[in-house]
Symmetry: C2
Subunit: 69 residues, 2 copies
DNA sequence: ACAAAAAGTCAAATATAACTTACATATAAT
DNA sequence: ATTATATGTAAGTTATATTTGACTTTTTGT
């Protein structure tokens, strides 16, 4: 799986740390880190929560990039 | 969780059964059924695979509706 | 009315996302 | 030099998505 740089840059644009996103979405920092680094395959509900925190949509952050396994 | 009627109608528009989608995405019929009925929270990769089969995007099928747990 | 396909559901097993704890590195500030 | 914050990673555990197999109910076609 490839890295999610769209998520990483959306997070940078909001000046939030991985821990900030983790706290806002109710998961751990490691989970956010793993998603950004493409280490696993998060649930749709978590993706939606991340999108809401970052003011983006699913297509903005999760479409077309992470298609490769 | 609420039912995913967008997915159900996109599937109807393609005249595909739940089993057809299951086979095309590499999961079981029960998994597709559970997603349509809102019984659980699929992975983003499975959502993307379903979107591709149905010719839709993540926003088309999974945004704004399934936000309610 | 009958048969077949599609859909709904359930229990038990397996795979894996996500958690916990922990340690290491890098950067920035004091 | 030291403290604090942010990030990357890993082993072991827990929660849950997904599978398997089976059975029932609906729908559709003949």
């Amino acid at each position: 799986m490839s890295k999610n740089l769209k998520m990483k840059s959306a997070r940078a644009a909001k000046d939030m740390s991985q821990k900030d996103i983790a706290d806002a979405t109710g998961v751990t920092r490691q989970t956010i880190n793993a998603i950004e680094n493409g280490d696993y395959n998060p649930s749709i509900n978590l993706c939606i929560a991340i999108c809401k925190v970052l003011g983006k949509t699913l297509n903005d952050l999760f479409w077309e990039d992470d298609v490769n396994e």
